[in-house]
């Protein structure tokens, strides 16, 4: 489907709903076309090659009382489009009024310039040309004595979205991204103990992908988790790796500063705006404007320009530290922060992060570890905190003992419990080195003292 066809279809929809129902105050239309390639390995051998494409659109209509109807399809013929528009109106008529719905965005004069979000090498990438990345993964696993298997993939995608609304907004953007992942299994040939390690890299440009590094990190991770021991209960410092920082600091804060969660009072940070919620080492921003970053966008999924927002500064949760779409912004009487997010054309805009970053510190992670006499190195837990209470208790899936400044035995059946506000206040060191995982930028973080429940009691 060509650009001109999409513009004429959007115009057709906007005119149709205007004619069908005079009560409609706002309409927005979201078109998306996308394609992807994916090549997968299992048992350290290429298993599947895949390509796919999709085209679809959705329409949202809102009347003067704030009642909202929504409908979508991937059939783009005029007959279906007409039907989908009429269904959206029918849905609107049965929806409840919502006086909190204030408005959809108007058109914007200026959009920010962000570089490196579209790579034409990715748009036109043929699956045959991505085989080298996969072969790099396979080689690392094959050449290692302890590695017995690997699953993983290389995927790349291109999407173009178009947003139109009844306020005259008419924008489009092109995005590319690619991903490489590796999950390596290692086995001790004598004891038969096995363990796995996982690593991934997400980029907007193909030339940034480093498959060898990803596989090596997964291998290192797997080996660090072999010969696991159960430990006794203890109360010691915990060092979060970048992955640990994402699951215990960045993800929970991202969920808790989502204005929708906040307005429904389901966030443990309700009532804490303008207050100190952590130590001076806690500095967080949501920045959609970083060149080439996985979470960057020129505008959000309602067409509002993205920007850089400070969320927490030196432990202070800023009064302006919430992420909004146009609905929550209208309800709070502020401007949208450009954080409207749709998973694709099938969803109504919710709220999501762009690039959610914790500010790095002064010390290297090795120096922080050296300072710990007895402690826990926490890399990965499958649990997530309760966002409405901030309580966290979970199993350490990948973690090690730290003893006399060195990373030692990995842990079995070891659990950790803490309230997040307590955790934020107990941050006493943040590393200079950091990792970027998709939309998160995370350093190593030390928590001064945490309750650890071991399986050896």
């Amino acid at each position: 489907m060509e650009n001109s066809d999409i513009h004429s279809l959007a115009e057709f929809c906007l005119k149709l709903v205007e004619k069908e129902n005079s009560e409609i105050k706002y309409t927005d239309i979201f078109f998306e076309k996308s394609n992807y390639i994916n090549i997968e390995i299992e048992e350290n051998s290429i298993k599947n090659s895949e390509t796919g494409e999709d085209n679809g659109f959705s329409i949202r209509v809102i009347n003067k009382n704030g009642s909202l109807g929504f409908s979508y399809s991937n059939k783009l013929d005029r007959t279906t489009i007409e039907k989908i528009c009429k269904i959206a109106i029918k849905m609107m008529k049965v929806a409840t009024p919502d006086p909190d719905f204030k408005k959809l965005p108007g058109s914007f004069k200026n959009y920010p310039a962000v570089k490196g979000l579209f790579d034409k090498n990715l748009k036109y990438l043929q699956i045959e040309d991505s085989v080298d990345y996969i072969n790099d993964l396979i080689k690392i696993c094959k050449d290692d004595e302890m590695a017995i298997s690997q699953s993983g993939n290389f995927a790349s995608g291109y999407s173009k979205i178009y947003i139109f609304n009844s306020n005259g907004l008419n924008v489009s953007r092109k995005d590319t991204s690619c991903l490489i992942s590796s999950n390596i299994i290692v086995k001790d040939k004598i004891s038969n103990e096995t363990s796995s390690g996982y690593e991934r890299q997400v980029e907007r440009r193909l030339d940034k992908i480093n498959a060898i590094k990803v596989a090596n990190l997964a291998l290192e991770d797997a080996k660090r988790n072999l010969y696991r021991k159960k430990i006794k209960n203890m109360k010691v410092p915990v060092l979060l790796t970048p992955k640990g920082t994402i699951s215990l600091i960045l993800r929970p804060i991202a969920a808790a500063v989502n204005a929708e969660t906040f307005q429904y009072k389901r966030s443990f940070l309700v009532g804490k705006r303008g207050q100190k919620i952590g130590s001076k080492f806690l500095n967080i921003e949501d920045n959609g404007l970083i060149d080439g970053a996985p979470g960057s966008k020129i505008f959000d999924d309602e067409g509002v320009p993205c920007k850089n927002k400070k969320i927490i500064e030196k432990g202070n949760f800023l009064k302006t530290g919430l992420l909004h779409n146009s609905y929550t912004a209208g309800k709070d009487g502020v401007q949208s922060t450009g954080n409207a997010t749709r998973s694709s054309y099938v969803s109504i805009p919710s709220i999501g992060i762009t690039n959610f970053n914790m500010k790095p510190g002064e010390m290297l992670s090795e120096e922080i570890i050296k300072d710990i006499k007895e402690g826990i190195f926490l890399d990965y837990t499958g649990d997530s905190p309760n966002i409405s209470t901030g309580d966290f208790s979970g199993l350490i899936l990948h973690g090690n003992l730290i003893s006399n400044g060195e990373i030692k035995d990995p842990l079995n059946e070891t659990m950790i419990g803490i309230n997040l506000l307590d955790l934020f206040h107990k941050i006493d060191a943040v590393s200079k080195d950091y990792r970027v995982y998709g939309a998160f930028q995370a350093p190593y973080v030390r928590i001064s003292s945490v309750n650890i429940i071991g399986g050896a009691n």
Partner: protein
């Protein structure tokens, strides 16, 4: 059966053309075409947040040659697109084949030509949208008015109908017409600044009658009641304890901690602790675990509809069937799709499932359950000197490679000298699956047996599943909490 016009386009003539395209270039191919529509009603605090409706077509085409798979996902069901899609899939399969080191064949299967339609007493398409809206509004009202402690109510109603066409190079040509309904309630409560929540759902394969069962009618009240009760719950003390698990939690433990390790794709990839253990004792003798996603089991639970995790055929054209995973403590079978059964030289058992036509079938569970034995619930509690009774779960997961698992329970009660005592929240249980299956010290009887529904995630795909179990007691579990 009335077949949608879009699927009618895929006729004998086209199938002949597809066979000519594949000819000797692919050893196996299959096509899954799906026509899908549905409605979502999402209410928060008695206001509609999303009232929506959709129509989506999708199609996935696979081709296979000597260990290499190719997969092509289309955006429409036009004849020309399908022909080009198959050509692409064949090209991709040949690329995979040229690079793969693991060579194998897909074992020939008897072709199946049939049509299946799930029964629906009240057709979803014929129910007025106002009636569906009123149903949700009513649930919201019941939850909101339950107590002054209720701060947030959230109800989601989802229904859908899909017509799926499955074709393969063995000559299978199957239509499966299913209709679903799912109702969710989430309630948040607050007392003295402390927030609690509970969530419950009802889901099944059938028509609008699913929403009119007693269980569905009581959904919002039950959820509100639990969220209010949790306000007075205390945090648990961590340590090693005896745990009595209800059918919902036990079913989830069986599914997460054990079922996934029986999926033959994980076994082949060296990711399962159960690799090479067929015929070995993996649990105490009282333990028998089955997976049976066959249709027709709803009536066993007095339901006027089918269990949510069930199907007539899987997404590779294999009929659903009963598979014994563990019999009296001995591991009997893994769960298979076409590929794993071909490679392990056993018959397929109908567990090749994909979340959508645009995804590749993986090995997935259907309705996994632990068979009941002879304990009364009262006797299990009375027989327990000190422990925790855990009901329902918030989430759970397992590392299949190490067997380490973790479950977060929703509602728990302290057990002291054979009596149920104070309520506790957020109890987490952890252990090693093979150890835990050997530490089961009591299995409840048929009266304590029940099932639960959910969506199970694996490799980015979510499929509908059910699990079932009686109450059980496990000794020596690691329990974690905030204190």
């Amino acid at each position: 059966m009335e077949i949608s016009d879009e699927l009618k386009e895929i006729d004998e003539n086209l199938i002949n053309q597809l066979n000519r395209i594949a000819n000797d270039k692919a050893e196996f191919w299959d096509i899954r075409a799906k026509v899908n529509n549905g409605t979502t009603l999402d209410f928060i605090n008695q206001k509609s947040k999303e009232i929506s409706s959709f129509e989506i077509n999708s199609c996935g085409i696979r081709a296979f040659k000597n260990g290499g798979w190719g997969f092509s996902v289309l955006k429409d069901l036009k004849r020309e697109s399908i022909k080009i899609g198959l050509q692409k899939a064949i090209k991709l399969a040949r690329l995979s084949e040229s690079l793969t080191k693991i060579k194998f064949k897909i074992a020939q299967n008897r072709p199946l030509i049939d049509e299946y339609k799930s029964s629906r007493k009240k057709n979803l398409e014929e129910i007025d949208i106002h009636d569906k809206i009123n149903l949700v509004k009513n649930h919201e009202k019941i939850a909101a008015n339950y107590s002054t402690y209720v701060k947030n109510t959230h109800t989601i109603y989802m229904d859908g109908r899909s017509q799926n066409l499955y074709l393969n190079s063995f000559g299978s040509n199957i239509i499966q017409d299913l209709s679903f309904l799912r109702l969710f309630c989430i309630v948040f409560t607050n007392k003295n600044g402390a927030t609690q929540s509970s969530v419950n759902s009802v889901a099944g394969i059938g028509g609008y009658e699913i929403a009119e069962t007693e269980k569905a009618i009581n959904l919002s009240k039950k959820t509100a009641k639990e969220a209010v009760e949790l306000l007075d719950a205390i945090s648990p003390i961590g340590g090693k304890l005896t745990v009595i698990a209800d059918s919902k939690l036990t079913g989830t433990i069986i599914h997460e901690a054990f079922g996934h390790a029986c999926e033959a794709d994980l076994v082949l990839n060296n990711e399962s602790v159960l690799e090479g253990m067929i015929g070995e004792k993996v649990a105490s003798e009282d333990v028998s675990i089955i997976d049976n996603p066959s249709m027709g089991q709803g009536q066993q639970f007095n339901l006027p509809y089918e269990l949510f995790g069930c199907y007539y055929i899987d997404d590779e054209g294999i009929p659903s069937q009963k598979t014994k995973i563990i019999e009296n403590g001995i591991l009997k079978n893994y769960l298979h799709n076409l590929e794993t059964s071909s490679r392990m030289k056993v018959p397929p058992n109908g567990h090749g499932r994909a979340s959508a036509s645009s995804e590749r079938p993986q090995v997935r569970m259907g309705f996994t359950y632990l068979e009941p034995k002879d304990w009364n619930l009262e006797d299990i509690i009375e027989d327990t000197k000190e422990g925790i009774l855990c009901e329902d779960f918030q989430y759970g997961y397992t590392d299949p490679t190490t067997g380490n698992f973790q479950f977060k329970c929703r509602i728990s009660f302290k057990i002291k000298d054979g009596e149920k005592k104070e309520i506790m929240r957020d109890v987490s249980l952890s252990g090693m699956i093979l150890e835990a299956l050997n530490k089961i010290s009591a299995i409840g009887n048929q009266k304590t047996f029940n099932y639960s529904v959910g969506m199970c995630g694996k490799g980015g795909q979510h499929v509908r599943v059910c699990d079932g179990a009686p109450y059980i007691r496990i000794e020596d579990m690691t329990v974690g909490g905030l204190n």
